[in-house]
Symmetry: C3
Subunit: 308 residues, 3 copies
C-alpha cells in the first residue's frame, strides 16, 4: 500500500493489518513514538476542515514526523495565482515525504496521484470519497461489534453528497453478509452506482421511507449531516430524519449510533449521554487509524530508500 486514493484500493487483508496496527497505536506503544522522525508530511487542504486536518496533524506529530500545513490552500496559496493542482503537487513533493490532500474536485486525488512522486492520501474529494473516514468508521464497527461480517447498518441523511457514506459502503462491501438500510431526505438518495456496487458485492440494500422501517435490531445507525454547502436548492425540511431520544427508544440495546460529524441538529443532543451514542469515540478513532495509515504507507514506500 503506497497511497490511499479510493476505498476500493484497500483489500480486506490490508484493512485487517491496519486495524491490528491501529490497536497498537491506540495503546501508544513506545516504539512508534519517534518512528517517523526525519520525515516531513504536508497537509494540503482546499476545503474547510477541523476534524480531518487536526487528527492527521496530531497523528503526524505523535509519530515524530515534521509537519507543513495549509489550512486554506484555496485562498492563501498559489491556487489564487492560478496554479493548477498538478503543479502544486509537483512542487510540494519536493518539500514533504507524503501529501495529505483535501480538495473540492472529485477527481483531485486521482489527478494528484498521476504526477506525484511521494505517497498521496485522499482526505476528502468533492462529494466523491473520503477513505480515511471510511477506515475509522469500519475500525469503530469492529471495536463495538467485534466481527465486521454480518453487519447491518442504517445510513441516513444525505446519501447523495455524503462522501463518508460512499467510502463506508465500499469498505464494508469487502466483508460477508452486509445489509444497508438507506433512509434519505428526498432528492438526496444514494446514487444508483452505489446501489449497484452494493448489489454486485453480494450485500443488500433496502430503501426506508421512515425511521420505523429500519429494523429495531439494526447493528448501527450511521447518521449524516445534510451538506447544505453543496446544495443548490436548500428549501427542504430535515425534520423527518432527525434522530432523537424518542425515535431511538424502539431500537435495541446493541444498536449503536454513529456520525462522521460535524452534526448540526440531525442527532438531538439528548442522545449524547446514551452509552450507545459512539460518535465522539468514533471521531477519536481518527488518531490510531491515521497513525497506522501514515506509518504503513511511509514504511512501505520508503523501505528501500535511505530515509527509513
Amino acid at each position: 500500500m503506497k497511497n490511499l486514493i479510493n476505498s476500493q484500493d484497500l483489500t480486506k487483508i490490508e484493512l485487517e493489518k491496519l486495524f491490528v496496527l491501529s490497536d497498537k497505536m491506540n495503546k501508544r506503544q513506545k516504539k512508534y513514538d519517534d518512528s517517523l522522525k526525519g520525515f516531513v508530511i504536508a497537509t494540503l487542504f482546499y476545503e474547510p476542515s477541523t476534524r480531518t486536518r487536526l487528527s492527521f496533524e496530531s497523528a503526524i506529530q505523535k509519530l515524530g514526523a515534521g509537519l507543513i500545513s495549509t489550512e486554506n490552500a484555496k485562498e492563501s496559496g498559489s491556487a489564487k495565482k492560478g496554479e493548477t493542482l498538478e503543479d502544486t503537487i509537483k512542487i510540494i513533493q519536493g518539500y514533504a515525504d507524503m501529501i495529505i490532500l483535501r480538495h473540492f474536485d472529485n477527481d483531485s486525488s486521482d489527478r494528484a496521484l498521476k504526477v506525484a512522486s511521494v505517497p498521496i492520501i485522499n482526505a476528502g474529494a468533492g462529494n466523491g470519497e473520503h477513505p480515511p473516514q471510511g477506515l475509522l468508521d469500519i475500525y469503530t464497527i469492529r471495536q463495538y461489534k467485534k466481527e465486521i461480517n454480518n453487519t447491518s447498518i442504517a445510513i441516513i441523511g444525505d446519501l447523495k453528497n455524503g462522501r463518508t457514506v460512499h467510502s463506508l459502503i465500499k469498505l464494508l462491501c469487502l466483508y460477508e453478509n452486509i445489509t444497508f438500510y438507506g433512509f434519505s431526505v428526498k432528492g438526496l438518495e444514494l446514487p444508483k452506482n452505489y446501489i449497484e456496487y452494493i448489489e454486485s458485492h453480494n450485500a443488500k440494500y433496502f430503501i426506508c421511507k421512515d425511521f420505523s422501517e429500519i429494523p429495531s435490531d439494526v447493528n448501527f445507525i450511521y447518521q449524516t449531516r445534510i451538506q447544505t454547502e453543496r446544495l443548490e436548492n436548500k428549501n427542504f425540511s430535515i425534520e423527518d430524519i432527525i434522530l432523537n431520544k424518542e425515535r431511538f427508544s424502539r431500537f435495541s440495546e446493541n444498536t449503536y449510533i454513529m456520525h462522521p460529524l460535524p452534526r448540526t441538529n440531525e442527532i438531538s443532543t439528548d442522545l449524547d449521554d446514551d452509552k450507545r451514542s459512539i460518535y465522539f469515540k468514533q471521531a477519536h478513532n481518527g488518531i490510531p487509524t491515521k497513525m497506522a495509515l501514515i506509518y504503513s504507507i511511509i514504511k512501505d514506500f520508503y523501505k528501500n530508500k535511505k530515509h527509513f
Copy 2:
C-alpha cells in the same frame, strides 16, 4: 490547578508558584526543554490573534510538545458547517491533551469546560476575560516593582470591553493595598460589577477625568487600545487618552508604562525608547508565564495517568 478559565480561579499561592516557575522558564533551564514530549496541545482560535496564539505556540514547542493549530476556526473549520463549540471541544480532546481556546463568546470557556475531558485554557473570551494576559501582566509588575502588594496602577482607555483589564483587576485584587485609577473614554467606563469587585476586595478605585488627575508617582500606567471592532458607535475621539512624551513628563522615574498590545496610537511611539516603557518586555513575558502555566496544568492533570 487543572484548567484556567477565569482569573478568580487562581489563588495567591498558585500565582506565586507560577511566578517562581516562570523565572525558571525565563532562564531556559534545560530540564524543561523536552519535558512535555509526547503530549499534543491544540490552539483553537475563533478570533484573530498574533500575540496570544504565537506566544502559546512558541511556549508549547519550547516544552517539546506537539502542536495542532487553528488560526481561523470561525471560517476554516466545522463552525462554518454549523458545529457547536461543545461538539468541537468533545472532538478535539480526542486529538490533543490540552485545548487553548479563544472565542468571541464571553461564556465560551465555561461552556468548553463543562464538556471537556482535557484541560482548557481560556485565551480570551469575548469582552469578558483573558487570564493568561492577566498572568503575564502581574508577572511583569512583580518583575519591575518586586512587591505586588501596595501597587498603584492607572488603567486607561477602553475599560468596558478590554478583557485584559478585567483579568488584571481580578488577579491584582488577590494582593494587599491595591489602588486603581480609572481613566476611560466616555461610554467605555469600567462596568459597575468590576468596581464592586475591587471594593469588595479591600482595594480602591478612583475615577480620573484627565491624565492630570492620575498621581504622578503612580507605579504603573496600564494603557489599552480602544477595541473598535467591538463597538457599534465608532464616532468618538481618543485624543484625550493618548499618552505621549509630553503628558508622561510629569510622572515619576519609577512609573512604568504597560500595554497589553497591539496598540494603535494610544501610546505615542516617541515613548518607545524611554526605559520606563516596558510594554514590549511585558509581551515577551508571555513566553515564560505560558510555559509555566501549560507545564503546571499538564503535570497536575496527568500526574496519575500513563502519559507523565
Copy 3:
C-alpha cells in the same frame, strides 16, 4: 551574515559558502538533522504563499527547530487591529529566534531590520526583492551549468513587478561576464535602475522584442508569471511570451528552462517532460538552500550566546 534583506547584502564568498552548505543539506547529512533543536523560528506572511512558506517551514523542521507560523497575517492577526509592522516585529522577536517575513510593502524588511533584535529574512517584499528565491535560482544555475561565470540568461515576462527577477539580477551580477536578454510584455519592461545596475556591474543587457531575438544557445530561459494581482490595467495579451514546444524547438540541447513558479500558462505543459525543463527541480532546491541560509544565519548570530 546575520540577516538577508536585500540581495546585494550577499558577497560572492558568502554565496559560495551557502552553496557548499546547500550541497551538504541536499545529501541530508545526519549532523544537521537536529542542529537547531531548541530554537524557534517564525514565518510571518502578509501575502499568499504556498511555495516559499512551506519550503521554509519544511527546512526549519528538517533542522530540528520549532516553528510558529502565520499563514495570513494581514487578516488573522494584529494587523487587522491596526498594529504597525514595527510593533509586530518587536513582539514576535520575543517569541522566536528568527523571523521570516513576507509583506506587501517594498521596504518592509528594511523597516523590520531597524527594530529587530533577532535575524530577519526577507521572503518577498512587494514588487521589490525576494532574496531566498534568488539564492535558489543561482544554486540551480550552478547545479546545471557548473560555472556561474560566463552565463547567458533570457528573462521573460513581467520584468517590472517580478521581484524574483530583481533578486536574480543582483546575485548574478556578482559573477563575471553575465549576459541578460530581456523580453517582456509591453508596459512591464525591466525598470531603468535595474538596467543601470547590470551595466554598472560589467554585465550586459539586451532587449528582445520576440523569442526569435534570443540566441538559440542561451544557457537559461527564465520565464515568469504576469503578476496580474499587482496590475491596474489587466487588458493585455500574454500570448507572445508563452513558451511552448514549438517555440522552444530552435533552442540548444543545453538551454534550460527555469521559472520561479507558480505558472499560469506562460510555459506550456507540453514542455514539462523535456529534460531541459528544470523548473520543478529548481523549486525543490528551495529546501537545501533555505536550510543552508537559516543554519548559517542562526549559527553566526547566536555564536556567542547561550543558545548555540
